[in-house]
């Protein structure tokens, strides 16, 4: 029997509707394990460059414990790892709802490379160009949010949320209202809001959704009081439902003496349509990697931005860039909460975000939001055509939808997580939901403006196929994945401080010594 696959036949056969995908599995060691003493990559110095003798004060007594490899081994290692990924440049990355995976235009990497050799301790006079980019991006984000000033220092979205919480705390303390120790958030706001507030010492009150899937405004009424420091809320929430009464929420909190803080990490559905300050918010933040196209880079180096009203500007993290009409200077706001990361910010991503906004202009930003909402509602229509899928609370959504496989799961015993894992056998994936699951058997899709109609059709066809498999052969789906780099993993070490090891040094200490 001829078992050869028909790829070599001529003429080339049309592709089947679903990809015959197979992920690479290189079984690649950690780069430290590949180290051989004395191996080097060679960077030849420019001809005529003077020899530099480092002064003894900065010279290491012992060389750093870096892995030692030749150049081809480094290239091979990282290419192999890149093949074991389902990154945004490889797959139709609409399944990471709330994380907002959009395309990062490659041209912007060239601009980022142009600033790569700047040193953060260079004198201001020698970096006027990059300071101008910081200044101009700040002004753009201020215009987009309606806020007075913006800090570009935070190194991530959660760092931006934490900076906002720290400003809220400092603001109340400065007014002699340090007794305000409660932060109110909602179940479908990003949980970093609750986590950052708690880390900063606040008590957290979480509002549950009402019958329409919106945060219960009556519960907010019952929650606000003299201890209220702030409301920290996302809108649209993770359900993709826009809260049309958001102004009332803000007003209720203001009446109680609290501040209102808008998590618009992902402003993809509202760019150029509505602004945080116009709804009365005092603070907001953006994730440059969710809304302004910079790479997520696997959890870092991302970048966040905090926007504040004039009353909170003195509390911004510092330094910020000031401009007197001719020169850009670094200055620290009067009552600054201090630094939330070293130096000014994640400069390569500041440059990328600036380039992205400049390439689109104001009309382009609005078109981003309109396309994202259109894509989302188109995909929703395709997903709801799949028997067993539903979108609780009904209605149109803004930029994402938290769906449910409850019906399919009750019928087949296959869980949402298992369906997502099986989808990875076709080269895509999805994420379920934050915990706890309010929507049963959840999955959250967010197509952004980056994906074409064909992309969305392919994605929906994969989920339809897997849902059909779940009905015909649930064990097949439960046994997935079959074509992936990694099959089943036990996640429990991730919850065990004695076992987890985010660095090689920690790994050596915990597991090799």
């Amino acid at each position: 029997m001829n078992t050869a696959e028909p790829f070599a036949e001529l003429p080339v056969a049309p592709k089947p509707p679903l990809r015959r995908f197979h992920q690479a599995r290189w079984d690649e060691p950690i780069i430290f394990e590949l180290s051989t003493p004395g191996r080097r990559g060679i960077a030849v110095p420019e001809p005529g460059a003077p020899r530099v003798e480092l002064p003894a004060s900065v010279r290491r007594a012992e060389p750093p414990k870096l892995p030692e490899l030749a150049q081809p081994h480094v290239v091979r290692h990282y290419l192999r790892l890149s093949q074991e990924n389902l990154g945004a440049d490889l797959n139709i990355d609409v399944g990471q709802g709330t994380c907002t995976m959009k395309y990062s235009p490659k041209v912007n990497d060239r601009f980022a490379a142009a600033v790569a050799e700047l040193h953060p301790l260079q004198h201001e006079d020698t970096v006027q160009g990059v300071l101008e980019i910081y200044w101009r991006l700040e002004r753009m984000l201020a215009e987009i949010s309606g806020m007075s000033r913006v800090s570009l220092q935070p190194g991530s979205g959660s760092a931006a949320i934490y900076a906002n919480v720290a400003m809220i705390r400092a603001y109340h303390a400065a007014r002699g209202e340090g007794h305000r120790d409660q932060v109110i958030t909602t179940m479908f706001s990003h949980p970093s809001n609750a986590a950052c507030a708690k880390t900063a010492g606040f008590e957290v009150i979480t509002l549950m959704p009402d019958a329409d899937g919106l945060p219960d405004i009556e519960a907010l009424r019952a929650a606000v009081g003299p201890r209220t420091a702030a409301l920290m809320i996302t809108n649209p929430e993770d359900t993709g439902i826009f809260n049309p009464r958001i102004r009332e929420f803000v007003d209720l909190v203001h009446e109680a003496g609290g501040l209102a803080c808008y998590d618009q990490a992902n402003a993809n559905g509202i760019l150029g349509i509505t602004r945080a300050r116009d709804a009365g918010f005092d603070l907001c933040h953006f994730n440059l990697h969710k809304t302004f196209s910079t790479p997520h880079a696997c959890g870092g180096p991302a970048a966040g931005a905090c926007g504040v009203s004039a009353g909170l500007a003195p509390f911004l993290p510092g330094p910020v860039v000031a401009f007197d009409g001719s020169t850009y200077r670094l200055e620290t706001p009067e009552r600054s909460i201090g630094k939330v990361r070293p130096f000014l910010g994640v400069t390569p991503n500041i440059v990328r975000a600036y380039a992205w906004i400049m390439s689109l202009g104001a009309d382009g930003l609005r078109q981003v939001a309109e396309t994202a909402a259109l894509n989302n509602n188109y995909l929703m229509r395709r997903i709801l055509d799949i028997p067993g899928a539903s979108a609780p609370w009904g209605g149109r959504r803004i930029e994402q939808v938290r769906y449910s496989w409850q019906e399919l799961s009750e019928e087949t015993g296959v869980h949402s997580e298992e369906i997502g894992v099986r989808a990875a056998d076709f080269g895509v994936h999805y994420w379920t939901s934050h915990h706890p699951y309010l929507v049963p058997e959840p999955f959250t899709l967010e197509p952004t403006e980056s994906y074409s109609k064909e992309d969305l059709d392919e994605y929906a066809a994969i989920l339809a196929h897997v849902a059909d498999e779940a009905r015909r052969d649930p064990e097949l789906v439960r046994g997935a994945p079959y074509n992936q780099s990694v099959h089943k993993i036990d996640p429990s070490p991730l919850d065990d401080p004695k076992a987890w090891a985010p660095t090689w040094r920690a790994y050596v200490r915990k597991h090799l010594s």
Binding site: M187, A194, K198, F202, E203, V204, I205, T206, L207, M208, P209, D210, A211, D216, E218, A219, L220, R221, A222, A223, E410, E411, T412, G413, H415, S416, E417, G420, W431, T432, H434, H435, P436, Y437, L438, P440, P474, P491, L494, D495
Partner: protein, 411 residues
């Protein structure tokens, strides 16, 4: 391999009839006739067949023992399951085409006492009939089979039901394969997974139709323990339930002022409060504790309503109650010691003297339904209605809707 395993199936064919007809239940021949007259279609048989199909998909060839016709035989045949009919037929009395009664259900259960697992399709009323039969078996000193409810009734509040027909089938298959249960503990005999005692509760439908609420806890049935919720997880999430319960307990202790009597209701969450105080409080009873410096003091354990009333009358006290999972009852289920007079004595006009405890998971499982107060005094319930702060962890809470059970469920 399924050799030797037998599964009983009893269907209450009239279960669920009253729901679609707006009759708030299907107990009694009159309600059933009224429902049929309003065009209701029986659906319990189809739901039972769905459960059987799910069971067969996991354990092909599983043999059923069932009652004839609409009481199980039809469903088994519809699902393509090999089956034997019990003799004598429980339908002998009603006749094969006549309406079935509670007595038929009981007789069918008694005839199937030897099965490895008994599935029954119906609602809370059917669960009560199964419980009656189980009691009869216990009285006779005979073996009681594990049971599992297929939800097919109007009222399905009892804990002995799976969340859906298919879930019942899957859980049954997991149990028979010895893979269900918590930590693989064996409580139901060799090779079998754990059994837990699940509550059977029901309302008196006649009173319910008149707008009067009298939910009654009738007893417990042995059911297979559901596998620990297989929660899909994002890397790094570590909000496991036990830690949360300890966090709730820490929060309660941090709020306790010395000398104030705290009434701990039944439940694992409130028992964790006792544990955080270093006290051996009871799981099912109501206990009274005080904080004395960093220490806790057990004032009285497992008190009666009268004792409790004496302990809180005329002094400052706080009620600490947990939410009864699934249904959302805060008052009126399992904590009847906290009577209207106790409530009036403690709360006075200060709602802050009631602390409600629940994990976020438990609240999420309510699916947006409110918490329920059913103290036995509807005026009091209405006074409590509105929003209540529910402690969900250390320095974590939510503001959640609470309703008078009489208005929410039956109003």
């Amino acid at each position: 391999m399924t050799g030797g395993v037998s599964v009983g199936l009893v269907v209450n064919p009239v279960a669920g009839l009253g729901g679609a007809a707006g009759l708030k239940g299907s107990d009694g021949a009159e309600a059933q006739r009224a429902a049929l007259a309003r065009g209701a279609t029986p659906r319990a048989g189809e739901r039972a067949a769905r459960a059987v199909r799910a069971l067969l998909s996991r354990r092909p060839g599983t043999r059923l023992v069932t009652a004839p016709g609409p009481m199980g035989g039809h469903s088994a045949r519809a699902a393509g399951a090999p089956h034997d009919l019990v003799r004598p037929s429980p339908l002998a009395e009603s006749g094969p085409s006549g309406p079935t009664t509670a007595r038929d259900t009981r007789r069918a259960v008694l005839a199937m006492a030897g099965v490895d697992l008994l599935l029954f399709a119906g609602g809370d009323g059917t669960a009560r009939d199964v419980l009656d039969a189980v009691r009869e078996l216990r009285e006779r000193g005979e073996r009681v089979p594990p049971v599992l409810g297929i939800p097919a009734g109007v009222k399905v509040y009892s804990g002995c039901f799976a969340v859906s027909p298919a879930a019942a089938g899957f859980l049954a298959a997991a149990y028979l394969s010895g893979t269900s249960g918590l930590s693989g503990t064996s409580g139901g005999g060799p090779g079998r997974a754990a059994l837990i005692e699940a509550e059977v509760v029901d309302l008196d439908e006649d009173r319910y139709r008149q707008g009067l609420v009298s939910p009654v806890l009738y007893g417990g049935l042995p059911v297979p323990a559901a596998p620990a919720a297989l929660s899909g997880r994002k890397a790094g999430s570590s909000a496991t339930a036990p830690g949360t319960v300890e966090g709730i307990a820490r929060e309660v202790v941090s709020r306790m002022r010395p000398g104030v009597r705290h009434v701990l209701g039944p439940g694992a969450t409130t028992r964790a409060v006792g544990r955080a105080l270093g006290l051996a409080t009871t799981l099912l009873g109501v206990d009274v504790v005080e904080r004395d410096g960093a220490e806790g003091r057990l004032v009285a354990a497992d008190v009666s309503e009268a004792e409790l009333s004496g302990l809180v009358e005329g002094r400052e006290a706080v009620l600490v109650l947990s939410v009864i999972g699934g249904q959302g009852f805060v008052l009126g289920r399992g904590n009847q010691q906290v009577s209207p007079r106790v409530l009036r004595a403690v709360l006075g006009t200060v709602p802050g003297r009631l602390l409600v405890l629940a994990t976020q998971q438990k609240l999420a499982a309510l699916g947006g339904r409110p918490l329920l107060a059913d103290s036995g005094d509807e005026d009091l319930d209405r006074m409590l209605a509105g929003h209540v702060q529910v402690i969900t962890g250390y320095h974590e809470s939510t503001i959640y809707r609470i309703s008078a059970a009489s208005e929410e469920l039956y109003g």
